[in-house]
């Protein structure tokens, strides 16, 4: 923008941009506008499809494992090996356990199929990410909404409680929890982590509610006799949805790094179960001998976190009404050249 303002046509150009945007947005509902803006954000759309693809791929390959309760439920995926199978080691000319057609990611020193291990790790990471996102998002939204809407002593109590949770650094909570319940499987770990990761979101939501509750549409609803619950959930919450969704996506990408980091230092998922973090920790020393054991888990972490971040960026752009789509130079030129014809028509 700063460059445009230096040339004499700046005002014209800005007007043109505004006209173009006005033309694109006329007659659309808020939801349609957001969807349209999101679909215009190409990296975000691509990341969304990619993430869906990765999730389906990982789950179909490794199957579904639920260690919840006394009887574990297991559904076998299409990949022939599991993390406990020890198939015969395939020797190749350079080294032992290198990637082959039979074992595309190679085999670890025990002979386990590495593709199965990585898929299992990715499965864990995705579960953790979703559970932390759900619990953190839910608690953060409710706490923030209540304290921002009711203000007064409710706000004071809830915010001091939030401060109280913030005081305990995330990694301390994670380590205490992970070390104690990590062996119960990944679901309880994720739930506990989720119970402690809502603080940032609740502050944001509170701020949003503090400003939204003063707006006319809330007064109108109250005059019409709406209950507090109805005002919070039907009137204010939809307007705060942008902040919540964006912040939850960031929470998701943070969650996957938190889980893998904890597993890396031995406080997260415990052996014999595997996580992408524990795989990296186990095979970082074999980096020079068999680098594939080191690369794949890291690449998967980065791909998942990166696509979640891009989706979050796309959502932020879509929800932010101040955000203007970039008008490409070609469109602007087209509009500018058409302009001389306009005055005669008016």
């Amino acid at each position: 923008m700063s460059e445009n303002n230096q040339n004499p046509n700046a005002v014209d150009a800005a007007d043109e941009e505004r006209d173009l945007i006005a033309k694109e947005t006329v007659g659309l509902s808020q939801g349609q506008l957001i969807r349209k803006r999101f679909l215009n954000h190409k990296p975000a759309v691509f990341s969304l499809f990619f993430l869906i693809f990765v999730t389906l791929f990982v789950y179909s390959a490794s199957g579904i494992h639920l260690n919840w309760g006394a009887t574990p439920i297991t559904v076998q995926g299409w990949w022939p090996y599991t993390i406990t199978d020890i198939p015969e080691t395939v020797f190749c000319d350079t080294s032992v356990g290198c990637p082959t057609w039979q074992h595309p990611f190679g085999q670890d020193p025990l002979g386990r199929d590495y593709f199965a291990l990585v898929m299992r790790g990715a499965e864990q990471s995705i579960v953790v990410m979703l559970i932390i996102g759900f619990f953190g998002g839910f608690i953060g939204t409710v706490v923030g909404a209540i304290s921002g809407y009711f203000r007064g002593w409710v706000d004071a109590v809830l915010m001091r409680f939030t401060d109280f949770i913030i005081t305990i650094p995330a990694i301390i909570i994670g380590a205490v929890i992970g070390f104690r319940v990590g062996n119960l499987g990944v679901v309880p770990l994720a739930i506990y982590l989720g119970l402690f990761s809502w603080t940032g979101l609740s502050r944001l939501v509170r701020g949003e509610f503090l400003s939204l509750r003063e707006r006319e549409f809330v007064d109108a609803a109250r005059v019409a006799g709406a209950s507090n619950r109805r005002i919070i959930f039907k009137h204010i919450l939809p307007n705060a949805m942008g902040v919540i969704i964006v912040s939850v996506t960031l929470m998701l990408s943070g969650a996957i790094l938190l889980e893998t980091g904890l597993s890396y230092i031995g406080f997260g998922v415990q052996a014999p179960d595997v996580s992408l973090g524990s795989l990296i920790s186990d095979y970082q020393d074999s980096f020079t001998v068999s680098p594939w054991l080191f690369y794949w888990p890291g690449v998967l972490i980065i791909l998942i976190a990166l696509s979640v971040n891009f989706i979050g960026d796309g959502l932020r752009d879509a929800f932010d009404p101040r955000q203007r789509r970039q008008i490409s130079r070609k469109e602007l030129l087209k509009a500018t050249f058409k302009k001389p014809a306009d005055p005669t028509q008016n």
Binding site: F164, T167, I172, T260, I302, L306
Partner: protein, 512 residues
């Protein structure tokens, strides 16, 4: 104001009391610290159980034990805090006191570097919004957001340490690396300029050739094995930095500030030989590094006063920043001179970049510069790793913040009254855009002492993070609570400092 601070500190103490009570009890109830001992078949089992029961006060219920612990901590008001004893009988206070300098060394540099680099890149991408540079930096910062540090650390160890050490055997940059690095320099410089394709290509080829020539000279003079800047190099670099800063802050046309800056550069050149001679003496210590820098800062303030009559604030800022850089480059030059000696010291043997630990224990020298260089080289890899991770956040926040400010009405007013774009950005936009970032910085600085648990574990440092990790895995309650007391206290204080700074910087926000 005073009552506000007092009230906040009161609340903070209550919060700390509550959270430490909960953490203490959670941790105490979550497991039996001598579980292994109970099932062991050792002959002195009963004795050990009795010993640990007495030392760790296991016969006292955790809530009561907590108050005993708190009593010791409360000694902080009388100047005799008692953090209790760790499992192995060592004083927790002593362990923490030993760990803090290590952690600060590990994290402080990375935090400062991440803030400086992150804000710079964020500001540049905001000014050049929607340019190629903006898009690529957005992608890179998202990528860094998504990097697991333990994974990056292993790659850094391989490619920045082991491969670099191998490369030092010859010290000559190969032709392929020469071309690649020159091309990277070219792409970055070309990304900074705006304009049509022809100008971009010209700038790219110009900087490509310049970088390639520089690297050829580096090869030719064997600079990598025997580096140095000399009085001329220091003068040129500091002069360039000074002129650059003064151009950014007050503009090149302000000749008075320019002259003041050049005075600082001249003082640096004059000080070069005496300072080097003084630094080379055998009783050199870390404090002696500081005096020349302070002297240069004094010269800088004096020069600013001598050359300018009005508007002295920016002038002093420019000259002081320049003088700090000058001091820094004097030190860097001295370290360059030590490099070749360091490479051939016993215990180094031409493999200078370490992948593990805080210092080289095989180093037999007691020369200050050798030890200093050794310490710095051990920080290199962790600093790069930590900077990579936290840099992205600053880029995103400062970019978003500056973009928001640039859309404000007062920026339009400033432009409308004919101020130059430089003044509008540096004096009107940037200052306001940096206000929200103070919160982030306050928390980052408070987080320093918490240590970087994962980084410390990857690089084998024994700081706060390692203490904390050991405390959890060996259920060492006093040690864990000692670390926790410090980190949570700093987190609460950071919260308070952030709010106070916010209201000091933004007069619209009042604290009550």
């Amino acid at each position: 104001m005073f009552s506000y601070i007092a009230r906040r500190i009161g609340t903070a103490l209550l919060i700390l009391f509550g959270s430490s009570f909960i953490v203490y009890n959670l941790e105490a109830l979550s497991g039996d610290p001598i579980a292994e001992l109970r099932t062991s078949a050792a002959r002195n089992r009963d004795f050990l159980i009795a010993y640990y029961t007495r030392q760790l006060e296991l016969d006292v219920p955790p809530p009561l034990r907590y108050f005993h612990w708190l009593q010791g901590i409360a000694g902080i008001f009388t100047g005799h805090p008692n953090f209790g004893k760790a499992r192995d009988g060592l004083s927790v206070y002593g362990e923490i006191a030993a760990a803090i300098p290590v952690t600060v060394r590990l994290v402080l540099g990375a935090t400062i570097l991440a803030i400086l680099l992150g804000i710079t890149v964020g500001v540049i991408t905001a000014i050049r919004q929607y340019s190629r540079l903006d898009y690529s930096m957005t992608f890179i910062s998202f990528l860094m957001f998504s990097l697991p540090i333990f994974w990056v650390a292993v790659l850094l160890k391989q490619y920045m340490a082991i491969e670099f050490n191998n490369f030092l055997a010859s010290g000559q940059i190969g032709i392929e690396w020469l071309l690649i690095s020159s091309a990277v320099v070219g792409v970055i410089v070309a990304g900074l300029v705006s304009g049509d394709r022809r100008r971009v290509i010209t700038v790219f080829s110009g900087s490509f050739i310049a970088a390639a020539l520089m690297l050829l000279i580096v090869n030719w003079t064997n600079w990598i094995l025997n580096p140095g800047m000399g009085v001329l190099g220091v003068g040129v670099v500091v002069g360039g930095i000074g002129v650059g800063i003064s151009t950014i802050v007050v503009g090149f046309e302000n000749k008075r500030v320019l002259w003041a800056t050049l005075t600082v550069v001249a003082a640096t050149i004059a000080a070069y030989f005496p300072v080097n001679y003084w630094w080379s003496s055998s009783d050199m210590n870390a404090l002696n590094l500081l005096w020349p820098v302070l002297a240069l800062v004094a010269v800088a303030v004096a020069a600013a006063f001598a050359f300018t009559r009005v508007d002295r604030g920016p002038a002093i800022r420019v000259t002081v920043i320049t003088s700090v850089f000058a001091g820094l480059f004097l030190i860097i030059d001295r370290l360059f001179q030590t490099w070749s000696i360091y490479l051939n010291t016993d215990g180094i043997n031409m493999r200078p970049i370490p992948t593990f630990g805080e210092a080289n224990v095989r180093l037999s020298s007691d020369n200050f510069w050798i030890l200093f260089e050794d310490g710095l080289l051990h920080v290199v890899l962790p600093t790069i790793a930590l900077t990579l991770i936290s840099f992205a956040g600053y880029v995103r926040y400062s970019r978003a913040s500056l973009l928001e400010v640039m859309n404000m009405d007062y920026i339009r007013t400033a432009r409308a009254k004919g101020l130059s774009e430089r003044t509008v950005i540096v004096r009107h936009a940037l200052r306001n855009a940096m206000i929200p970032l103070t919160t982030l910085m306050a928390f980052d600085f408070a987080g320093i002492l918490g240590g970087a648990i994962i980084t410390e574990s990857v690089f084998g440092w024994h700081g706060m993070g390692t203490l904390f990790r050991n405390a959890i895995s060996s259920q060492d309650l006093n040690l864990l609570m000692g670390v926790f007391a410090i980190t949570s206290f700093l987190a609460v204080m950071a919260n308070l400092v952030a709010d106070l700074m916010y209201s000091a910087l933004d007069p619209r926000i009042r604290v009550r």
